[in-house]
Symmetry: C2
Subunit: 350 residues, 2 copies
DNA sequence: CGAGCGAGTGGAAACGTTTCCAGTGGCGAG
DNA sequence: CTCGCCACTGGAAACGTTTCCACTCGCTCG
C-alpha cells in the first residue's frame, strides 16, 4: 500500500547516498559492494525508475512517434511494423498516433512535439499544407516525412514515385489488351491524389488512349473501401454506351482499398473481374494478396519506406547536423488474378 | 538558435514571478493585467510548456495506453478507434503499443507502466499467463482488460461470450442445412482459442453432429490469413472420402482472418464458397463486409467493447476505490454470402 | 477607525532523477 | 616519508514545472 519506491528509498535501504545508488544502477563507476547492496535493495523494494523524472533530467524520452491519418489503412500497418522493428533495436519505444483527416490536428500534433513527449517523429501526411511544412521545419525534434514534399523543403524524406507507379499499372493493362482504362482516384487535395492523377494523365497520353483522360477519372471522397465503391458505381454507370454495355474494360485505383471498393461495385453491376473489368490497386498491401480475386497492385514498398524512414530518423538523432536526405523507393508491379485473362483483341466492345 | 523557451523566460519577459506566470497560464487566480502580460510574453516567445516537467510535478501524464498483440488484426483497429473516441473527449492522449506474441514482452510492458509514461492501460492479451495476471493486479496504474480472466481475479474487465458466438455460428449452419461442420481454430494456448473450442464442442454435441468433434478441428499457428490457409488445407484434405469427395460442407473459423485463409484454401482446392463449403468467420471486422464473397461472421462487438473499456478506465481513474466491474458484450451473427446458397442482401440476425 | 478579509503576488520547496564537484582514503612511486 | 594519483563516495545543484506559504495592499464591515 505504500507509495511507489523512489531511488531515495533504495539508497536509504542500501545505506549509501542517492548519488551512489544512481551510479550503481546505471553502471557508472562504483565499487562492487555498492553495486551489490544497491541492486539488492532495489530488487527487494521492487524499485522501478521513473521515466518522467529521468526524461526531464536527461532531456530526452526514448520515445519516437509515428503519425498517420488513418490507422485503418493496412498500408500504415505495414509501415509501422517496419519502423518498429528498426526503432526497437535502438532502445526506443514507438508510439502511434492517429491524427484523423483534419490538417489542423496534424499541425497540432507536430507542434506538441515541443512538449517533450517524443524525441523524434515519422509522419506520413495525406494533406501537406504550407502551414504543416512550416511546423515540420521548425519542429522541436527531428522529423522524417514519408511522402512527397516540394523540392525546396530541407527535410529528411522517404518518397516513392507514385506517378510512375500508375504508369506501370496502365502499361500492364495496355499490354494485357485493355484500352478503355478508367482511373479511380482519392481526394485531389491530398499529395498522393495529385501525383497519381498526374501519373494517370501522362500514361494516358503516352499510350494514346481515348477518350479524353478527364472523362474516365473519378474521385472518391477518401481512401476507403466504401468511398471507392460509391465512386466506382458512378464512374461505371457513366460509361455505359447507348446499348447499356460497359465502355470501360479496366480500372486503376489509387490504392488497394479503393480497388476493393471498385471490385465490389463491379460485382454489384453484374460484371466479372477480370473478364469484363480488370482492376489494379496500389500499395500492394496484405489485403491485395488475400482478396478474392487476388488484386494486381503496384507496390510502393511500404515496409521498405518505413524502414528507411526509421533509419533516417535514427541517423539524424545521432547527428543533428548531417545534411538532409531524400530517399526514393521505386514502385513495382505485382500481378495477380484481377488483371489476368487472355488478352482481349484491341477494339473489342463488350 | 536559442534553446527552447521555458516558463522562466516567459516570467522574465512579462516582468512577473515564475509563480505568477504559471498561475496566469493555468487560469488560476491572477489579475487581468498579469494574465495579459504573461500571455503576450508566452506568445511572443513561442512558449510551449514541457509535458515531462509537468508530468513529474503533477504525478500524471494525461496519456493512456492501449496494448495489443498484433496491430495487423483489424479487430484491434476497430477497438482502438472506439477507445480513442472516448479518451480524446476526456483530454487524454492515446498511445498504442504492439507487444508481439511473446507473453514476456506483455509482462514487461505492464511492469513498465510504473515508469509513469501512462496513467492507465487498456490491454487485450491473447495469452493470459499467471504471471501476467499478477502483474496486471499490481500494476502501477489502473488497467482494464478486454478479454476473459479467471472469475476470481478482481479487475475491470470487458469480455464477450465467444463460446456462445461459436454456438450461433454452428446453429446458423445447421439451420442452413449443413451437417458436416469443421472448425478452424487459432492457437490453443490463447484465451480465445480455448473458449472457442469449448463453444464448438458444446455446439457440436447440442446438435448431435457427427463424426466426433475432435476429428473436424484444426488449429492454425496463429490468427492470421496465411496460417488459416495452411490449416484449412490440412483440414480439408484430411476430410476427403474414399472417392475424393469432400466430407465437410461448412467451416467455422475462430476469426475473420482465419476465415479468409480458409476461403482461399477452399478455392485453391477447386471448391465453391458457399455452394461446396460454407464459411463463417468471427469478429465481424470491416474485412468481413467487403470480402468476396461477403463473409458471414459472428460480431463480438469490438467497437462496443472498446468503448466500454475506455469508459471503465476513465471511471476508475476518477474513482480508484470503486468496485471492479465486469461487462459482458453479447455476440450476434451477421449473415452474408459465404453461408447463403441463394444470394440475399446482407442483414443482421438476432 | 481599526480589525479582518480577500485578491494578488513572489520566494521557495517539491516532484525523482542525473551529474558536477569536492572530498576521503588507500597505495605506489619517488 | 610524503606526494600525488586513483577509485570511490556524498552533498548539492539542476531539469521545468506547480503549489504551498507568507506577505502586501486596498476594502469592507462592525
Amino acid at each position: 500500500m505504500s507509495a511507489r519506491p523512489t531511488l531515495i528509498h533504495v539508497a536509504e535501504l542500501a545505506g549509501v547516498s542517492l548519488a551512489s545508488a544512481s551510479r550503481a544502477l546505471n553502471g557508472m563507476v562504483a565499487s562492487p559492494e555498492t553495486v551489490a547492496k544497491v541492486r539488492a535493495a532495489a530488487l527487494s523494494l521492487g524499485y522501478i525508475p521513473d521515466a518522467t523524472a529521468r526524461s526531464l533530467k536527461l532531456g530526452h524520452s526514448l520515445q519516437l512517434a509515428f503519425a498517420v491519418d488513418d490507422v485503418g489503412n493496412p498500408v500504415y500497418v505495414e509501415m509501422m511494423r517496419a519502423i518498429e522493428t528498426v526503432v526497437r533495436g535502438s532502445g526506443y519505444r514507438l508510439q502511434v498516433s492517429s491524427t484523423g483527416t483534419d490538417p489542423a490536428e496534424t499541425v497540432d500534433l507536430v507542434r506538441s512535439l515541443a512538449r517533450g513527449y517524443a524525441d523524434g517523429l515519422v509522419i506520413s501526411p495525406l494533406r501537406v499544407t504550407d502551414e504543416l511544412i512550416v511546423e515540420l521545419k521548425r519542429a522541436a525534434v527531428p522529423v522524417v516525412v514519408v511522402g512527397t514534399l516540394p523540392d525546396t523543403v530541407q527535410l529528411d524524406t522517404v518518397q516513392t514515385d507514385s506517378a510512375r507507379g500508375v504508369g506501370l499499372a496502365v502499361a500492364h493493362l495496355v499490354e494485357s489488351g485493355r484500352r478503355r482504362i478508367g482511373f479511380l482516384n482519392g481526394p485531389l487535395d491530398t499529395t498522393p491524389g495529385m501525383s497519381r492523377r498526374r501519373g494517370f494523365v501522362e500514361a494516358y497520353a503516352a499510350h494514346q488512349l481515348a477518350p479524353a483522360a478527364g472523362s474516365v477519372q473519378e474521385v472518391a471522397a477518401d481512401f476507403t473501401v466504401a468511398a471507392g465503391r460509391r465512386a466506382a458505381l458512378d464512374l461505371l454507370s457513366r460509361h455505359r454506351d447507348a446499348r447499356g454495355a460497359l465502355a470501360l474494360d479496366a480500372l486503376v485505383a489509387a490504392n488497394d482499398l479503393l480497388a476493393v471498393g471498385a471490385i465490389h461495385a463491379a460485382l454489384e453491376l453484374g460484371l466479372q473481374v477480370p473478364e469484363d473489368l480488370a482492376v489494379v490497386g496500389m500499395d500492394d498491401t496484405e489485403l491485395a494478396g488475400f482478396f478474392n480475386p487476388g488484386l494486381t497492385s503496384v507496390s510502393l514498398g511500404s515496409a521498405e519506406r518505413g524502414r528507411h524512414a526509421a533509419e533516417l530518423l535514427l541517423a539524424r538523432l545521432s547527428d543533428p547536423a548531417r545534411p538532409t536526405r531524400r530517399i526514393v523507393v521505386q514502385p513495382t508491379l505485382v500481378v495477380r488474378a484481377s488483371t489476368q485473362t487472355d488478352p482481349t483483341p484491341e477494339g473489342t466492345v463488350r
